[in-house]
Point group: C2
Chain length 447, copies 2
């Protein structure tokens, strides 16, 4: 028996999650700055019943950054453009609380939320990349400080989103009354990191306010999610590992007095679908081969103290390395050595596999559907975010082959029923916080 429907999100990361996805023939090479292509993907995802599109972000690049990071749209602008070209799909993007102002970000997300009719989501990150500090001319805060900043930041933003009650704008042309001053609220926040008076100069959206997304695997991150997040991204590991993480986040929410259903967990999956296992494997190999062998050897070498693998024959068996690799990556290097021996792999195969790690989600549509249902029914996921290695081919196959099977088995609704992100994710629409407080006080007065 099904516990409900699986929600999907789709990562809009240009040509795909693989570092050389731009070389794959199924999509344009300039996908990360090709607004037509990105719009087409978002519209196709919407038509297929995908609940939200997601734009990740970073604020620092250098020559070694993966191609898609070097040249891409900024999340709030591209999501706003997509708002105008879509009607039901959620529009989520990453913005850092360590390198922005809460008044500005509250406003930009509220604006995206209102102009999309209630479809915005904000993925709150604290920015791990230290180089960012050099683009913003300020010291990079340590992790625990970053979370303290984020907590206060989010408190300010949510209060700003409650500046106007739902029915504050009257707009009565006869009487000339534009708004009800009683329904306008200033936060007058004076905190450790921020001092913000308010009010915000924009009304609430049909979904009340943007959905808060977050991804944090550390203990601090899970605590933050329990307090603040409504949707959480996580990596996919074994079923037990994801079930454990799922339970931890739900428990953290409960510990903060929240309904565990009010935070939804989305592991990232990158399926490669073939009609047969062999065809799926062939597609995986075509992606794997997008990395030049010299780059793959260098990549492999990083795990082995920058060992120079170019001195070996590529198509001979993986070389005997002795103590090389007995370092901090030992769990990885031991596994590489073991698999190479067991499966009689050549150096070329080992290097290419290392540069493009195999996901368990390579196979037939039925196998992938079974896996997804397994995590969903197994208490390890409320939905999934699709992070295809190659976006164009990956999504086309998934849409054509996997989604219909999930729908046929009652696990997926191929039509977005609602016009707001919260409704499509099954999240409640929050009331203005000042109205909530008033209701609380009045309830207590009666009791």
């Amino acid at each position: 028996m099904s516990k409900g429907k699986i929600n999907f999100g789709i990562m809009l990361h240009g040509a795909g999650g693989h570092m050389n996805s731009w070389r794959h023939p199924s999509g344009p090479a300039d996908a990360s700055v090709n607004i037509r292509y990105i719009t087409d993907v978002a519209r196709a995802a919407e038509a297929a019943g995908i609940a939200f599109a997601f734009v990740a972000d970073g604020l620092y690049i250098n020559e070694k950054s993966i191609p898609h990071f070097l040249n891409r749209f900024e999340p709030l602008t591209v999501l706003s453009a997509l708002a105008a070209q879509t009607e039901r799909i959620g529009l989520c993007g990453t913005v850092s609380t360590s390198y922005s102002d809460p008044f500005t970000i509250a406003r930009q997300f509220a604006s995206l939320d209102l102009l999309s009719g209630g479809r915005a989501g904000w993925n709150v990150v604290t920015t791990p990349l230290e180089g960012t500090a050099r683009n913003y001319g300020r010291p990079h805060p340590k992790p625990s400080l970053r979370y303290d900043i984020a907590d206060e930041y989010l408190k300010v933003v949510r209060r700003l989103w409650s500046s106007w009650e739902e029915d504050a704008f009257i707009r009565d042309r006869q009487t000339g009354v534009f708004f009800d001053a009683q329904k306008l609220h200033r936060l007058n926040h004076q905190g450790r990191f921020f001092s913000v008076e308010g009010p915000l100069n924009i009304q609430r959206s049909p979904q009340g306010e943007p959905v808060i997304f977050q991804a944090g695997a550390s203990e601090t991150g899970i605590g933050f999610a329990g307090r603040n997040a409504e949707a959480v991204f996580t990596h996919i590991g074994g079923l037990q590992e994801n079930r454990h993480y799922y339970a931890q986040v739900k428990a953290a929410a409960l510990a903060h007095g929240r309904d565990p259903q009010s935070v939804r967990i989305f592991p990232g999956v990158n399926p490669i679908v073939g009609r047969t296992e062999a065809q799926a494997e062939e597609k995986y190999r075509a992606i794997r081969d997008l990395v030049d062998i010299s780059d793959a050897l260098a990549y492999l070498g990083r795990y082995f103290d920058h060992h120079d693998f170019s001195v070996y024959a590529l198509d001979a068996p993986f070389p005997e390395l002795g103590d090389i690799g007995k370092n901090s990556f030992r769990s990885v290097t031991d596994k590489i050595k073991r698999q190479a021996a067991e499966q009689k792999l050549t150096l070329r195969e080992v290097a290419l596999d290392a540069a493009t790690p195999r996901s368990p989600f390579i196979g037939t549509p039925d196998k992938i559907a079974d896996l997804l249902i397994g995590y969903f029914e197994g208490g390890a996921a409320d939905g999934f975010i699709l992070t295809f290695l190659v976006a164009a081919e990956g999504f086309a196959d998934f849409r054509a082959e996997v989604l219909p099977r999930l729908a046929g088995r009652g696990y997926f609704d191929p039509i977005l029923k609602a016009a707001t992100l919260r409704e499509n994710l099954g999240l409640a629409i929050p009331r203005n916080r000042y109205v909530q407080q008033r209701a609380e006080v009045s309830r207590q007065g009666v009791a």
Copy 2:
């Protein structure tokens, strides 16, 4: 003989520039947050040959703010949404250099510019409203300091926009070469206010980089425009006054080694068009009457030391005030007294006129066309920004009656010829600054 074509911009300020425009029946009362209405206006403007749409901004409101300021979209998000719904019209918005980070703003405008195919414009403001500081938790800089910050800010942003040379992205799928590292530049800026390493993570647009707009009437503002601006907004006054301002800005550009043609001057005009003078006057009165008489009396009172005008008969002649009004507003109050006496105006008429000042651009289409051509030919304007008191009626009339007359007389091109803002404004497309420098060095080497 014409010196060329007049460019127009249109202000997207919800229902219009008049404080009570939301009460006018020609448009929706929620225009400032109605994305469909705003999109319709932008598309109609584009179809009519208007070169750019403009979104003004502010970062502080209180109960006394005019209705449109209380509740409106944030410029970068709404302009990005409009980018997806239009093809040729320029998309310009205000962002303050006193309350933002150059890396973020360089990126958001570059992103808007790229996703619109080269149609972005940034109106650089330094934020005069002191309340803003209380929403950002930092001291409000004094005017001259604000301009120093803006100068350095703009230098940083322009260098960031030159992070990638025009042909830096190779994207050769055969060779696997994504970009040419020789064509990637870091600014490594260490200045008085900002420290920014770079590079920016987005390529240049088809117009090179966004157009820099500015509005500054003070001596400092004119100096800033001379150094930095490519388009300047100014208020409309008498022909002589505007001609003087025009000459000052062009001279300031020249003084900074720039071609005076590389900065274009746009006075703001708010025409009210009638088939006859009487019909135009009637439309003006309908707008004037959007202000309740009690609000108009209070408004009038501000000029007269908050004198209580409610004690007089409304439809009797304007009262004798003696010394009342001999204050810092004396030039205004003397004029009000004189006109009331000369034209035998009632108190009601004086109060309503004060709350909705008459512009000279009220009249027949021919009169308005003559006036615009007069400023244009008279060396006082390169174009105009349309700031209708009531946007819906104002633009519909202007488009139907005035634009065809200007086109018929050879002063207006009703079709946007180019797909970039720079081309439609007759501005050159700048080369990447590092390429310019290289060309400069190489020229000097040859000479």
